[in-house]
């Protein structure tokens, strides 16, 4: 009998510390699949900062570097400048990338730093028990916005792809989601494109992945997927915002569908 579907080699078989229905596990698996399919395990270096995925190195059998909160793009820069022919990626949450690490991500993009950023947008601080994130939706309840996010006091959600699309240094920017099997496959394609961008030395690539955090959204895993499709994509439209191969550049939120 032939196995049609099996776990990727690069994915370490160990009990997961993620909550049921969490998006991180799916994203890890996609990464591991690509690393296997492209045979790049021996030259890939990953960075996981604090956040629920700080233990990503428990699951991915590659050289990995832990990072301080928000600093993966700077650390990845240091690594990539030493090993320009390796594949270097960061795996960052929304608090990490869009709050404390905003300067680092903007400047890595503006330098056209030849790295790939996987940006897990779950609109919440998962690791620290569900506080407001820069990407938290308006009216969304979090532990620090118990009445819901109010733009007058908490400001508006930040759209990272749209923001970075204004920078010449960004070569590939896409937003995908993990809310359905089709979306998961599109996420994988976008991740591949990100790695391709880097391997062909085309500069900075970032894939923003809308991911569920059922625990701090206070929803069931199934409700969480519905929330992404019906609510999150309203604020964060899916699509490609920049593509060096197609010269797609759509600042201001007008994304081209993948």
């Amino acid at each position: 009998m032939q196995a049609l579907y099996s776990a990727p080699e690069t994915l370490i078989r160990t009990p997961s510390h993620y909550c049921p229905g969490c998006g991180h596990g799916i994203a890890h698996r996609l990464l591991a699949e690509i690393i296997d399919e492209w045979g790049i395990r021996g030259k890939t270096i990953g960075l996981a900062p604090v956040g629920c995925s700080v233990l990503a190195y428990n699951y991915l059998d590659i050289d990995m570097c832990e990072a301080a909160h928000g600093r993966p793009p700077a650390i990845a820069t240091g690594i990539k400048r030493v090993h320009p022919d390796n594949v270097v990626f960061t795996y960052q949450g929304d608090g990490d990338l869009a709050a404390i690490g905003m300067a680092e991500i903007v400047h890595a993009a503006s330098r056209a730093e030849n790295i790939t950023v996987i940006f897990i947008n779950n609109a919440i601080y998962g690791m620290t028990n569900g506080q407001l994130a820069p990407t938290t939706l308006l009216n969304q309840r979090t532990t620090t916005t118990p009445e819901g996010r109010n733009p007058l006091t908490h400001g508006y959600p930040i759209r990272i792809c749209e923001l970075l699309a204004t920078l010449e240094g960004a070569s590939f920017l896409a937003r995908t989601s993990l809310s359905s099997p089709k979306d998961v496959l599109q996420t994988k394609e976008a991740l591949k494109k990100g790695f391709k961008t880097q391997i062909e030395k085309k500069g900075f690539s970032l894939i923003e992945v809308l991911a569920p955090c059922p625990v701090y959204w206070r929803m069931s895993p199934v409700e969480s997927l519905k929330f992404i499709e019906e609510k999150m994509t309203q604020t964060f439209p899916l699509g490609v915002f920049k593509d060096w191969e197609k010269t797609v550049s759509a600042p201001g939120g007008q994304a081209t569908k993948v």
Binding site: I45, L55, E66, A74, I75, G78, I79, H83
Partner: protein
């Protein structure tokens, strides 16, 4: 400039630090402009491309220290530099470097503080440098040069020490040392030993993967790691203490000072020679590990110590801890950019020997060939 000849060059301390780093095999420098270390970053911007290295002006000192962290994790010799406010911003990263056991050389060209302070020489970052500065139980190895030549020499050693112990090494200078020009000779073949870094991130081709981290969430693991770190620190304390003694044989008063202040103390000693005053100097070259044993030895014979610093009194605490009650420890300091003069130091010494003011001394002027408007004698 051509770096491999052994002629004397006239350079600022900052330029000498940069050039010595390149000679020591550093090919990755990350920095952010701040006075009084700008000659260093500017020199790196010119020289790194010439030697095929990386120079990157980061978006902040936070980014700079983490770029250095990345380079170190990738196995390269890396350097960053800053002063005052910038070094403060780097503290989280320095703690991470120590926690991940990454070798990195950090130059702090101290300026006056707190806050924005000013850009004149200071030694008020001593606590920050030697006690940790960031969070957690860790130590930087801290080297304190006192001349441009010594800056060059200690930069080589800084890279070796960083590699050998997988630990951040801070070169603690100040605005005076960084910006003044002196002749410097670079070692023709720098005695540097680049370690084989099997732990480095290079891609796991043909080997088990490497992980660089400082996170130990499993109960007990972090304590075990800390115990191992402390063992390393004890070994460094055993092996790496460096200091210089001047005139300590038979000295009544022993000055204790590092860097710029040590040079001024040497001038004070020269000015006192022939006056009957017996003054010696202990100059720590490593501020961490601190030369406790030599101080204890001297405490048996000397009448008193006098610690001279450009601070409100920071190193003096370590001197007191070293000698305990065996010998009185006095302090003379200037703050906020103030630099003690040799005359002030001699006055303080007289005051220690005769607090009631009965001891008067004609303090000879600085010999003109030494003076020339500098605070320093040229004794190396």
């Amino acid at each position: 400039m051509k770096s491999s000849n052994n002629k004397k060059h006239l350079l600022t301390g900052n330029e000498a630090a940069a050039e010595a780093a390149i000679l020591a095999g550093c090919r990755h420098y990350y920095g952010y402009p701040i006075t009084p270390q700008n000659e260093l970053i500017n020199h790196m911007a010119i020289r790194m491309p010439q030697v095929g290295g990386t120079f990157l002006q980061a978006e902040s000192e936070i980014a700079a220290v983490y770029m250095a962290y990345g380079g170190a994790a990738a196995g390269a010799r890396v350097m960053t530099s800053s002063s005052g406010p910038g070094i403060s911003l780097m503290q989280e990263g320095i703690s991470y470097l120590a926690g991940s056991e990454l070798p990195c050389v950090i130059v702090n060209v101290q300026r006056g503080g707190p806050g924005l302070g000013d850009i004149s020489p200071s030694q008020a970052d001593y606590f920050q440098a030697v006690k940790g500065g960031g969070h957690g139980d860790y130590h930087n190895i801290v080297l304190a040069p006192a001349s441009v030549q010594e800056i060059a020499d200690l930069v080589y050693d800084a890279f070796d020490l960083a590699d050998r112990y997988r630990n951040p090494v801070m070169l603690l200078g100040d605005a005076q040392l960084g910006q003044m020009m002196e002749p410097v000779e670079f070692r023709k073949t720098p005695r540097t030993h680049q370690a084989v870094k099997r732990w480095a991130l290079t891609g796991a081709e043909g080997r088990a993967r490497n992980i660089v981290k400082s996170f130990y969430p499993v109960k007990g693991e972090l304590e075990a790691f800390n115990i191992r770190l402390q063992r390393k620190y004890r070994a460094i304390e055993q092996e790496e203490v460096r200091y210089e003694e001047v005139n300590t044989q038979g000295a009544e008063i022993i000055l204790v000072a590092y860097g710029t202040c040590a040079r001024i103390c040497k001038e004070a000693i020269r000015r006192a020679s022939g006056t009957g005053l017996q003054i010696g100097l202990l100059r720590p070259i490593t501020l961490w590990p601190f030369p406790k044993e030599p101080l204890r030895r001297l405490a048996k014979k000397a009448r008193a110590f006098c610690v001279v610093e450009m601070s409100a009194g920071q190193m003096v605490e370590d001197v007191r801890l070293a000698v305990l009650d065996r010998c009185p420890v006095h302090f003379y300091g200037r703050m906020g950019g103030g630099v003690p003069s040799s005359r002030e130091i001699l006055k303080k010494v007289l005051n220690i020997l005769a607090p009631e003011g009965t001891l008067e001394l004609e303090i000879p002027e600085i010999p003109t060939e030494l003076g020339k408007g500098l605070y320093f004698s040229t004794i190396p």
